[in-house]
């Protein structure tokens, strides 16, 4: 787990300290969210819904695959090549953890009234 905030937080229990750099990235979080809902998702579906180029999406998929959060399966349907992405158990846990920490972060920011840099 790696913190992604620019400034170190003195409070170790703060939710940002638990954010995973691999998951806490908008596109990769989107990939995990779609794969979680879809059970199994095709490369083209991800590309059109996340509005990415094939190359850019491939890079993000590689990061997630190397981290063991997704499985990539290549095959054919007729003559057409298709790539299917499935969330692993570790990916489901990582997504749930990320969402939990985001909710916690929102709650803390709203209750402590800390100015947030946007």
């Amino acid at each position: 787990m790696t913190a992604v905030t620019g400034t170190p937080d003195p409070d170790a229990a703060h939710p940002v300290t638990g954010l995973d750099e691999v998951v806490h990235q908008r596109v990769r979080l989107g990939i995990l969210a779609i794969a979680h809902e879809a059970r199994r998702v095709e490369f083209g579906y991800l590309r059109s819904h996340l509005e990415l180029t094939a190359g850019n999406l491939s890079k993000h998929l590689s990061v997630l695959e190397e981290a063991g959060l997704i499985e990539v399966e290549k095959g054919y349907e007729g003559r057409r090549g298709r790539t299917w992405i499935t969330l692993t158990a570790a990916g489901a846990v990582a997504l749930a953890e990320e969402i939990k920490r985001l909710k916690l972060l929102i709650t803390q920011v709203e209750t402590t009234d800390i100015p947030v840099e946007r």
């Binding site: 579906y45 909710k103 929102i106």
Partner: protein, 226 residues
């Protein structure tokens, strides 16, 4: 399309909102509600002649005795085939769109309830001819729930939950009110001169048409969205 990498992290509100938005779009893309309703409408309408011609009817001066054998023989296999067809349609459509399907809990609930309805009707066919009973009004509602027209509504609630489909939930609740509380599915209706067979056929026709109209409505909404 963009070739620029999107910014890492971001506002947690926005990230959560993105996640919810994407999840909702996937659920919408997995839907094939109109096909489920169309198949159920077809099964209901095709079942009317089976009930009509399969009914054992004995009339004597005191009244008529009837046994709806056609319902018992037609509906269990028809419903099991219908759930299989709906499941296959969902899987194929979802696959074509590039996502997995979420229909299995619906099909399993439907199949289990079909077996329950069959067991209840077989038990009733064996028990009640020799033990005539006058039912309380709440038992008539329960009887309508375990009849095929009522029991197809319960898995639709499961489907509405799976799809997070509020429109289907509202449709199903209205359908269940119609079938359980409004239409006399298990006693028939109409003036006596119409006869018992027609009295049972008319509510089934209404149910079939309601399901068909529901299918057309969901189909129109589906096309508009795409």
């Amino acid at each position: 399309m963009t070739t620029e990498p999107m910014p890492a992290g971001g506002d947690p509100h926005r990230l959560l909102s993105d996640v919810r938005g994407l999840a909702h779009r996937v659920r919408v893309d997995q839907r094939l509600t109109w096909v489920a309703l169309l198949v159920l409408a077809a099964v209901t309408l095709v079942g009317i002649p089976f009930d009509w011609f399969g009914m054992k009817l004995h009339c004597h001066p005191d009244g008529c005795e009837f046994a709806r054998r056609g319902v018992l023989y037609y509906w269990p296999p028809a419903l099991l085939l219908a759930y299989a067809a709906i499941a296959v349609s969902y899987v194929r459509a979802a696959r074509a769109r590039g996502v997995g399907a979420r229909v299995l809990p619906y099909a399993i609930t439907g199949a289990v309830l079909t077996l329950l309805f069959t067991a209840a009707w077989v038990a009733a066919a064996l028990y009640f001819p020799s033990h005539p009973v006058r039912f309380a009004s709440w038992m008539l509602v329960l009887d309508r729930l375990i009849a095929p027209w009522g029991i197809i509504g319960v898995p639709l609630l499961v489907l509405a939950w799976l799809e997070r489909n509020v429109a289907l939930l509202v449709f199903t609740l209205a359908y269940l009110v119609l079938v359980l509380l409004v239409l006399p599915m298990n006693v028939g209706f109409g003036p006596p001169q119409w006869g018992i067979r027609l009295g049972f056929a008319l509510p089934q026709l209404v149910v079939g048409v309601v399901l068909l109209l529901g299918a057309l409505g969901f189909r129109a909404a589906h096309r508009r969205r795409r």
